[in-house]
């Protein structure tokens, strides 16, 4: 399950309905295992698809928030803040029932990366099915290079962004059709084919990407107003736009 360049350890873990891929120093096998266990704990606690998860039981009214893991309170409070900041475009009930997945994945991955940092690594990345947290650089002073998939031209990259200590998250039309609903209309968001947000930490970067996709064409001004975050979008018609600071990440 592992391989990679000398001195590096790569590990893909099947969890949270996707594959989370780690690129860590090879000595960090222990911290990697700890991070993997964390992700599985998050999955079991927060998955809306598992009937026994805290999220499912809370959503069904079987338990109170106080009876759930304290992390759920933390997550729901943070979701409320993102919802307010995004004018309601980010929601914890996208399908009508409690589902904070739009926040949880980025949060879980940023924290997994932080666990590996705490164990002493200054150069690693964690990619949760296309949402990436990069710590330090890729080695030898070289920035991490993240390709952004072009949703309208399968198999090609629309752009490459490069950086250190940064996060890249993309929201788009899923392969099973539109899956992000505009909470204000109840209809699937259709302005954009995909929007990528770049920022310091994956938790908010990922949540902002979700909100930006639901927002559609209005997302450009919104992300422009967020300090420390930039965006690149491909519209459904094949045009694209980017916020003014994105150029710092272009090579």
């Amino acid at each position: 399950m592992t391989g990679g360049q000398a001195g590096r350890l790569r590990h893909p873990e099947h969890v949270m309905g996707t594959v989370v891929s780690f690129d860590v120093p090879s000595w960090a096998r222990g911290p990697l295992g700890e991070a993997v266990r964390w992700l599985h704990w998050v999955d079991g606690t927060f998955s809306p698809y598992l009937p026994d998860s805290d999220v499912s039981r809370l959503g069904a009214g079987e338990v109170s928030l106080a009876q759930c893991a304290p992390e759920l309170t933390e997550v729901l409070e943070a979701c409320a803040a993102v919802s307010a900041l995004s004018g309601g475009y980010f929601t914890t009930t996208p399908g009508g029932r409690l589902d904070p997945s739009g926040y949880v994945k980025g949060w879980a991955i940023e924290r997994a990366a932080a666990m590996i940092t705490a164990a002493g690594s200054a150069e690693h990345s964690v990619n949760g099915g296309g949402d990436v947290q990069c710590v330090g650089d890729r080695g030898s002073g070289q920035p991490w290079r993240i390709g952004i998939a072009d949703p309208l031209r399968p198999g090609t990259l629309a752009l490459v962004v490069a950086g250190r200590d940064f996060a890249v998250a993309t929201s788009g039309v899923a392969e099973r059709g539109p899956h992000i609903v505009n909470p204000h209309t109840g209809q699937p968001a259709t302005d954009l084919a995909s929007v990528t947000v770049v920022g310091p930490g994956l938790t908010l970067t990922d949540a902002y990407a979700t909100a930006a996709f639901a927002m559609g064409s209005g997302a450009r001004d919104w992300v422009e107003s967020l300090d420390g975050y930039e965006a690149f979008a491909i519209t459904s018609r094949g045009a694209n736009w980017q916020t003014s600071g994105l150029r710092a990440y272009l090579t």
Partner: protein, 161 residues
């Protein structure tokens, strides 16, 4: 060789690029599947769920093991079980580089599955190949069937790439 290719597969769909191979990337999803005919799978690889065919844009369905030019090697992955159904792929390598990815099995239960397969697999295969040329560490994008694809890709590598 194994280390090099495993590096490519390590991150989802994306994958470090070490190689300078020029691929024929699919450029658009296709709505039609044309039948290429020819023989089916060979040498112990499980049969694909339909007869071999090719979606325009370098998307072979079915094992290529029996029809490779000299110098190319086929490596077949285990069947990866996904919530939508089984996924199995095959890698064709030449000089330590992935030159082609064939899909042996994909979910085909509904019209939607077939449509997804036509869209998603060329995309993921293309990303794998594009990653080799763009020298990137990972790909950011929305994808659903990635998990099964990567699982199958990984097992193909584990089987001997």
């Amino acid at each position: 060789m194994r280390r090099v290719i495993l590096t490519i597969v390590g991150t989802i769909a994306g994958l470090v690029a070490l190689l300078s191979f020029k691929s024929h990337l699919p450029t658009a999803p296709s709505a039609s599947v044309s039948t290429a005919g020819g023989s089916g799978s060979t040498s112990g690889t499980p049969a694909p769920s339909s007869s071999p065919s090719t979606v325009p844009g370098e998307f072979p369905m079915g094992s290529l093991a029996g029809k490779l030019p000299a110098g190319e090697t086929a490596v077949t992955g285990h069947v990866a079980t996904t919530v939508y159904g089984p996924v199995q792929i095959q890698l064709i390598t030449r000089n330590s580089k992935i030159v082609k990815v064939a899909v042996l099995q994909q979910p085909m239960n509904t019209a939607n599955d077939i449509q997804i397969g036509e869209f998603a697999f060329p995309k993921l295969i293309g990303e794998t190949l594009a990653a080799q040329t763009a020298k990137i560490d990972a790909v950011s994008g929305a994808s659903y069937t990635s998990a099964g694809y990567i699982k199958s890709l990984q097992s193909a590598l584990d089987n001997g790439a």
